[in-house]
Symmetry: C2
Subunit: 246 residues, 2 copies
């Protein structure tokens, strides 16, 4: 499994992904699931993947090759005129790889399936965030649904829904994501540290701060331990249930 | 979908289930998923079901008929010598119904599948809590795993894991379950109010307080609203993430 979240804020975009891949529970590895491209002053793009690793690596390699070989730069995500066109290219590449993996021509064979979050900003338009489906189509985040999750989405969702605020700062957003990832990691063995994060600040047109939360990260340990205590306190702060009078 | 939780405490057992059943999202109904049997002073048994409604109703009807018709009371859950034997009867009845539903003889056809939580106490032994699988086998709760969830288990799990305490009282346990159910109801349309609860106090050998949390329950509304606020406060009480020095 995997857990990735892309968050749209008023100040920009924040991305976080875990790095655990598994084939069963007895074969786990560390693979990066977050990939970035930029042309400083003009565009910055972040992409995160969940699903079949062969599929997602092939998609990223194809996008990457096409953005590097000058002769084949049409179409490339470094030349696409808008984030919408970037999402379309990602979707087409994903569909191509998924279809190519199933010789019978079956379009949505789960075994080769993958989901992708892609976001960023290109000069001349707003920052945008998309969720791309294995069939190649995609949806865009909006004020009503300002974040996308892929992979093991359920355990970490309640805190995102309740504590997200479009005005929050980048550091608060990373703290929120770490709480969400901690709940997921505690419940699903197939999601694990280290965690990668990437910030994109609106209208900078270059990638912002990024980093990796390693296994021994002291701040993550504080969050993980502190959250148990904080949740228990939150629970006790609620009014008590009484059986009398029911 | 469904959400049911059985909780084992030092003081006894607590059960909670939702009442929503659905065939798609355009066909929802209210059905009780919690069933009880007792012989005052001798035994009390609570059973909760998740899965195919035809299957679970057939299982409960069979268990019920056998416990009522005196001529056919062997075997019946009102005469089983232990909770282990009760769980075995539930498992056998469940397997029988699931197998009978698939004429091809396929044993674990998902479409007819169901999971059952059964717990209670019979004079001469401790309170016990079991999770019964559609194949008819079952596992028992222990100090390490003191509760079972069936149905939509993921959204409501983090708070159970963090705030459960074997020494907690019944009223606190119901409050905890309501928080867990609220997180689930907020995230999955196929889990819904009203909620049924049942308490069994250790060594009483009769069913304890029970009740239904209706759609307009004022306490549930307080919990639901209060929890958003409490979670946000819990989140802000954690140490802040800083990008500097990373």
């Amino acid at each position: 499994m995997t857990y990735c979240v892309g968050l749209s804020l008023n100040r920009g975009l924040v991305f976080m992904s875990d790095t655990r891949t598994n084939a069963g529970v007895d074969n786990i590895s560390v693979f990066k699931k977050m990939f970035t491209w930029q042309q400083r002053g003009e565009r910055a793009i972040v992409l995160m993947t969940a699903g079949n690793l062969a599929t997602t690596q092939a998609v990223v390699s194809l996008l990457d090759e096409r953005s590097k070989a000058p002769g084949e730069r049409h179409p490339t995500i470094l030349e696409a005129p808008s984030m919408f066109q970037v999402a379309r290219m990602v979707g087409e590449t994903l569909r191509e790889v998924v279809q190519g993996s199933s010789p019978s021509g079956q379009a949505a064979d789960a075994a080769f399936s993958a989901n992708i979050i892609v976001g960023g900003q290109i000069k001349g338009s707003e920052p945008r965030l998309f969720l791309v489906y294995p069939e190649g189509n995609f949806v865009e985040a909006s004020a009503d649904t300002p974040f996308f999750q892929v992979g093991e989405t359920k355990y970490g969702r309640p805190i995102l829904v309740r504590a997200y605020n479009p005005d929050m700062g980048f550091e608060d957003a990373i703290k929120l994501l770490l709480v969400s990832f901690d709940s997921t990691i505690k419940a699903n063995l197939s999601v694990g540290l280290p965690l990668d994060y990437q910030i994109y600040e609106r209208d900078t047109f270059e990638l912002g701060p990024w980093g990796r939360i390693e296994n021994n990260d002291r701040y993550f340990a504080e969050i993980s331990e502190g959250w148990s205590e904080a949740l228990r306190n939150a629970f006790h702060s609620l009014p008590n249930f009484t059986l009398d009078g029911r």
